[in-house]
C-alpha cells in the first residue's frame, strides 16, 4: 500500500513530458503526411484550372462568435493542461476539492471520474492536452459544413463529460450556488456553445428558435438574480466572514502575480465594508439582463447584453481572479464563456427571421485554395483531437492502475546519484547480508511485505521476470527488505518464496531482521510503515531503488500502488526495471 500522493513527483512529470513528446511526434508525422497530400491536391487543382472560388452562404454571426470564441478558449484550456503538476494535481487539487461539499450522488460521479483519471494519470493528462488543443483548432479552422458541425458536437460531448465528472455538475448541487463564483459551471457554457455550433446553421436564423433561446436564457439569469438577492445566503453581509471578503481572502492567499494579488486585497477590503454595494450591482445587472431577454425586444436584449458582459468582466477580475493566475488554473472560469453565450443569444435574436429565405442569405466568396486549406486544416485539427480522444477513451476502459500514479505515492527519500545507505540484515536462510558487500554488482532494492494481500506478491513476480529478461545475470541482485514489523521470521520469508515460486531464483535475497534493524533501513530509504486496525494489512511505501556497482543510487521510483493490476501494467513495470538496470550497468 502506498503513502500520500506527491503532486510534483519528478518521475510523473518526466513521464508526462515523455508522453507529450511522443504524441507530438505522432502529430508531426501526421501533419507531414497531410501537408504532402494537400500540396499534391493543390497542384493537381492548379493544373486542371478548375473553378477559382465558391459563393457560400455566410456563417450566422452567432455561430461565428461562438465558434471562434470557444475555439480560442479550448486552445487556452489545452495549453493550461500542459502544467507539469496536472497528472496528479488535477484530480487531487482541482476536481476533488470542487466536489468536497457535494451530495453523495454527485460525489460518486466525480469519484468515478477522478478514479479513472488517477488509474492512468499520465495518459489522461497528456490526452487532455491534445484533445482540447485539437478541439480549439478544429473549431477555429472549420467554418462550415459537416466538419464544422462535427467539431461543435465533439466540443459539446467532451465539455459535458468534463462538466459531469470534473466540474461536479457545475457545483449546482452545492450551497451556496452563485453566479459570481461560477455556477452553473464554465463548461456548461461550452456544452451550449458546442450544441449551437453543431446545429444546422439555418436553424440559428429562425425566429422561433431565437425566441425560445431568449426565454430560457432570461429565466436562467432571473434564477441566478433571485439566488443572489436571497437574504441569508451570505452575499449581502460584510465583515471578514462575508461571502465576498472570504472568497477574496481565499483567492488572495494563493500564489499569483503581484497585480492580481493587489486587486484581491483591494476587493477584500472593499467588500468587508460594503458587500451590499457589490451584491446590489450583481443583482441589478442579472435582473436587467434577464428582463432584456424575457422582453423579446432586441433593443432591451442589447442593453442587457452590454451590462452583462461588463459585469462579467468585472466579476472575472474581482471574484474569479482571472481564473488562471492563482493555483492550478484549468480554464478561464465561467464569466468569459457566459459572456460569449449571452452575446451569442443577442446576435441570435438580432439576426433571426420569421421566414428564412435562402435567397436573402448573404454569400461570401471563398477561393478554391482557401477552401482546400480550410479542409486540410480541419483534418489536421481532427488528427490532433484524435491523438487526445483515443487515449482518453482508453483511460475510461483500461482496468488497473498505471505505474505512473504509484510513482507519485510515497517516493523514497534518497536522492539520485547519492550513495545508497549501507545496512546489515539476514536473508531468508538466516545468512548475514551487508549491502556494501555487493559493490561490483547492480542491486535492485525493494520493500515487500511477506503477508501482504495485494501488490507485494505481484511486485516480486515482476522482479523475477525482470531478472529472467536480464538473463538471470549474476551481476544483478534483487534484494527485498521485509516491510512488515510483525511477520519477520526467515520462515515467513521462505513461505513467501515458496508460495510465489521464488525458491530457485539465485539472484533473489529477501531480508529481515529485528524490528529496530528494519526500522533503521526503512528510515534510511524513506519507507513509512503503519499497522492498521480492523483486519488491515501493514501499510507501507513501496520505493524501488537501483544501485549501481559503485553503490550509488541511479534510479528510484515507486512500485504499483493500491488497486488492481493487469498484465499490461506488469509488463511496463518489468520494462522499467530492466531498462533502469541496464542503464545502471553501463
Amino acid at each position: 500500500m502506498g503513502g500520500s500522493v506527491n503532486t510534483n513527483s519528478s518521475y510523473v512529470t518526466a513521464q508526462f513530458n515523455t508522453a507529450l513528446l511522443q504524441e507530438l511526434i505522432v502529430i508531426a508525422v501526421a501533419m507531414l503526411a497531410i501537408a504532402i497530400l494537400s500540396t499534391l491536391v493543390l497542384r493537381r487543382q492548379a493544373s486542371k484550372a478548375l473553378e477559382l472560388g465558391f459563393d457560400l452562404p455566410q456563417e450566422p454571426a452567432v455561430r461565428r462568435l461562438l465558434r471562434l470564441g470557444f475555439g480560442v478558449i479550448w486552445v487556452i484550456d489545452g495549453l493550461l493542461q500542459l502544467q507539469p503538476q496536472m497528472p496528479i494535481g488535477l484530480p487531487d487539487n482541482v476536481v476533488t476539492p470542487t466536489a468536497a461539499s457535494a451530495p453523495a450522488w454527485v460525489s460518486s460521479l466525480v469519484t468515478f471520474g477522478t478514479d479513472a483519471w488517477l488509474r492512468h494519470p499520465v495518459l489522461a493528462a497528456s490526452a487532455t492536452v491534445w484533445l482540447q488543443l485539437g478541439l480549439g483548432l478544429w473549431l477555429l479552422v472549420a467554418n462550415r459544413g459537416w466538419a464544422s458541425r462535427a467539431a461543435g458536437w465533439a466540443s459539446a460531448v467532451w465539455a459535458l463529460n468534463v462538466w459531469i465528472f470534473g466540474n461536479a455538475l457545475g457545483t449546482l448541487f452545492m450551497a451556496p450556488i452563485s453566479w459570481t463564483t461560477g455556477a452553473p459551471g464554465a463548461v456548461f457554457f461550452y456544452v451550449l456553445a458546442g450544441v449551437a455550433i453543431g446545429l444546422p446553421p439555418m436553424m440559428l436564423k429562425r425566429q422561433s428558435f431565437s425566441l425560445w433561446m431568449s426565454r430560457v436564457l432570461g429565466l436562467g439569469l432571473a434564477y441566478f438574480a433571485i439566488l443572489q438577492a436571497w437574504p441569508g445566503r451570505g452575499f449581502w453581509g460584510g465583515g471578514k466572514d462575508g461571502a465576498y471578503p472570504s472568497m477574496a481572502s481565499e483567492m488572495g492567499s494563493v500564489s499569483q502575480p503581484g497585480f492580481s494579488a493587489s486587486i484581491q486585497h483591494w476587493f477584500q477590503t472593499f467588500t468587508t465594508n460594503s458587500s451590499w454595494t457589490y451584491n446590489t450591482l450583481v443583482v441589478v445587472v442579472l435582473a436587467l439582463a434577464a428582463f432584456g431577454f424575457l422582453s423579446g425586444k432586441v433593443s432591451w436584449m442589447r442593453l442587457g447584453t452590454i451590462v452583462y458582459v461588463a459585469m462579467a468582466l468585472v466579476d472575472w477580475v474581482l471574484v474569479q481572479d482571472f481564473a488562471v493566475f492563482g493555483g492550478m488554473g484549468t480554464d478561464l472560469n465561467s464569466m468569459i464563456p457566459s459572456a460569449l453565450i449571452v452575446g451569442g443569444a443577442y446576435l441570435l435574436a438580432r439576426d433571426a427571421k420569421e421566414v428564412v429565405d435562402l435567397e436573402e442569405i448573404p454569400v461570401v466568396r471563398e477561393s478554391r485554395d482557401t477552401r482546400t486549406l480550410r479542409f486540410v486544416g480541419a483534418i489536421a485539427a481532427t488528427v490532433v483531437f484524435l491523438v487526445g480522444a483515443v487515449p482518453m477513451l482508453l483511460v475510461g476502459v483500461l482496468p488497473g492502475t498505471s505505474a505512473d500514479v504509484a510513482a507519485a505515492t510515497g517516493a523514497g527519500v534518497q536522492e539520485l546519484n547519492s550513495p545508497a545507505p549501507d545496512f546489515t540484515l539476514i536473508d531468508q536462510q538466516g545468512k548475514r547480508f551487508t549491502l556494501s558487500d555487493y559493490r561490483g554488482k547492480t542491486v535492485v532494492l525493494s520493500f515487500i511485505d511477506p503477508v501482504c494481500t495485494s501488490e507485494c506478491p505481484i511486485e516480486a513476480q515482476e522482479m523475477q521476470v525482470a531478472s529472467q529478461q536480464l538473463g538471470n545475470n549474476p551481476a544483478v541482485e534483487f534484494v527485498a527488505i521485509n516491510s512488515n514489523p510483525l511477520y519477520r521470521s526467515p520462515a515467513t520469508l521462505r513461505a513467501f518464496d515458496t508460495a510465489e515460486g521464488l525458491t530457485g531464483w539465485n539472484q533473489w535475497q529477501f531480508l529481515t531482521g529485528t524490528k529496530a534493524q528494519l526500522q533503521t533501513v526503512w528510515d534510511a530509504y524513506g519507507v513509512g510503515v503503519e499497522i492498521l486496525a480492523g483486519g488491515g494489512m501493514a501499510a507501507h511505501a513501496e520505493p524501488i531503488y537501483v544501485i549501481n556497482s559503485s553503490g550509488v543510487i541511479t534510479a528510484t521510483w515507486t512500485a504499483l500502488a493500491e488497486g488492481s493490476v493487469n498484465t499490461l501494467e506488469s509488463q511496463s513495470a518489468v520494462s522499467l526495471i530492466v531498462s533502469e538496470v541496464q542503464k545502471a550497468s553501463k
Binding site: 494481500t453 495485494s454 501488490e455 510483525l486 511477520y487 510465489e500 486496525a533 483486519g535 501493514a538 493500491e562
Partner: protein, 390 residues
C-alpha cells in the same frame, strides 16, 4: 411449483424454530414470504463462531460490507472470564479470507489466504492476545477447526488446503507432514467411511490426534482418532453420510459438530472418548437454514456442548449436548446475529451465552437477562479498512 414449495419449507422452518425457542410458544412476527431470504443448500461451514477455553473466550465475526467479499473483514473478539469483549484481530494483514483459531488462551490465530496472498499468516496466542511475531505457512484449510495446539507439549497442528496435516513441534521448528487425505484413504477407517476430505483437527488430552472428515458412507461419526500410529473410526449406526463442521478436544476425547444427511441435512453433536460414542438428537431444523455455528468447549468441565445457531427470518441458538436432546435457548435473535459463544468457566448454560450481531463496523454483544430476553451488554465499533486489498 418449485417457488411455492420453497416458501412452504421456509414457513415450516420458521414456525418450527419459533415454537422451539419461544418460552410461551408465541410466534415471532413474520413478514411476507417473498421478503424472506432464500435457503442456501451450501454446506460450507461458516468461519463465524467461537471457542471458550479455560475462561478465555474468543469469537470470530465477519464485518464490513458482508455482501462484498473484498470488503468483508473478519474480526476476532476476546474476553477473559466475565470481563468485557475487546477487538483482538491479528494486526498487520488483511483478514478478507477469514480468521480461524485453535485454543484461544494458549493457541494460535491464523489469517486465511485471500486475493494475492497464497499463504496463511499465523500468530501465537497468549491469554487471547496475539503475539507480535507471526509466522506463515502454506495455505490453511478454510474451516473453523483447521488448527489445533496441544496444551501440554505445545505441538501445533494444522490442515492445509491440499489435505495435509502438518505438525510443528515448537515455535521455531519446521512443519512436517503427519498425514494426508491420500494416506487416510488407504486406512481401513478411511475406507469404511469413504473419506472425501479432512475438515478439521483436534488434539486429545493424551496428545493423540483426531481429525474430522467428510464421509460418503453411512454408519460412521466422521471422526478418526490416532492411537499408536493407527487410525480408527468410530461407528454410529443411525448416522448417514456425514461431514464434521467443527471438532474440539473434550475431556478424554473430542466433541464434534457433525452435519448428517444430504440435501435435507441436520446437525448433531457427537462426543467420542475411547470406545464411548454419544450423539445428541439432531437439530430440529434443516442444516440449510444454518447461518453460523458456535462451539463452546469446556476443557475439564462437567460436560461439553456445542451451541448451534440457525434460522431464516430470525435465528435461534440451541445447545447440543451429546447423549441428550437439544436444549433450545429461549428468545430468538435478529438475523444479523453471527455467533453465539459461551463466556466464563461455568458449565454452559443459557446464562453463559453471548450473542454477537454485526452491522458493518459495529458489533453488538448481548446476553440473556433474568427474564430470558436478549439484552445488549456492550457495543464495539471497529474501523474497517474498506478496499485495503483492492
Amino acid at each position: 411449483m418449485l417457488r411455492r414449495a420453497t416458501g412452504v419449507s421456509v414457513a415450516f422452518v420458521a414456525a418450527s424454530m419459533a415454537l422451539l425457542t419461544s418460552p410461551v410458544g408465541a410466534m415471532p412476527p413474520m413478514g411476507s414470504m417473498s421478503s424472506m431470504p432464500s435457503m442456501s443448500t451450501s454446506a460450507a461451514p461458516s468461519l463465524a463462531g467461537g471457542v471458550n477455553d479455560a475462561g478465555t473466550s474468543m469469537s470470530i465475526l465477519p464485518m464490513g460490507h458482508l455482501s462484498d467479499s473484498a470488503n468483508t473483514f473478519f474480526q476476532s473478539f476476546t474476553a477473559r472470564s466475565d470481563a468485557s469483549w475487546n477487538l483482538s484481530t491479528p494486526p498487520g494483514i488483511a483478514t478478507n479470507g477469514g480468521i480461524t483459531l485453535s485454543s484461544p488462551s494458549n493457541g494460535a490465530i491464523a489469517v486465511l489466504p485471500y486475493y494475492a496472498l497464497h499463504l496463511s499468516a499465523i500468530s501465537p496466542l497468549v491469554d487471547g492476545v496475539s503475539s507480535q511475531d507471526g509466522e506463515a505457512v502454506t495455505s490453511l484449510l478454510k474451516a473453523p477447526s483447521a488448527m489445533a495446539k496441544s496444551p501440554h507439549s505445545g505441538a501445533f497442528f494444522l490442515v492445509t488446503r491440499k489435505g495435509s496435516v502438518l505438525e510443528q513441534s515448537g515455535p521455531t521448528q519446521p512443519f512436517t507432514t503427519v498425514t494426508s487425505l491420500s494416506a487416510l484413504k488407504k486406512t481401513s477407517a478411511g475406507k469404511r467411511c469413504g473419506i472425501q476430505a479432512i475438515t478439521g483437527i483436534a488434539i486429545q488430552s493424551d496428545e493423540s490426534l483426531a481429525v474430522g472428515v467428510r464421509c460418503s458412507s453411512p454408519g460412521t461419526t466422521g471422526v478418526l482418532t490416532q492411537s499408536g500410529g493407527t487410525w480408527t473410526g468410530s461407528l454410529a449406526s443411525k448416522v448417514g453420510p456425514c461431514s464434521v463442521v467443527r471438532i474440539d478436544p473434550s475431556g478424554a476425547g473430542v466433541i464434534a459438530l457433525v452435519r448428517t444427511g444430504g440435501m435435507k441435512a441436520s446437525l448433531r453433536s457427537i462426543s467420542i472418548a475411547g470406545s464411548s460414542v454419544k450423539l445428541s438428537s439432531p437439530l430440529p431444523f434443516m442444516y440449510s437454514t444454518l447461518r453460523s455455528t458456535a462451539v463452546s468447549n469446556e476443557s475439564g468441565g462437567v460436560r461439553s456442548d456445542i451451541v448451534a445457531l440457525a434460522g431464516t427470518k430470525h435465528v435461534a441458538a440451541a445447545i447440543l449436548t451429546p447423549g441428550e436432546h437439544v436444549h433450545p435457548v429461549a428468545s430468538v435473535l435478529p438475523l444479523s446475529t453471527r455467533a453465539v459463544v459461551s463466556q466464563g468457566t461455568a458449565t454452559i448454560s443459557p446464562a453463559t451465552l453471548r450473542a454477537f450481531q454485526v452491522s458493518k463496523g459495529k458489533a453488538t454483544i448481548q446476553e440473556l437477562n433474568a427474564s430470558s430476553a436478549w439484552e445488549t451488554l456492550s457495543v464495539v465499533n471497529v474501523t474497517i479498512p474498506y478496499g485495503s486489498t483492492k
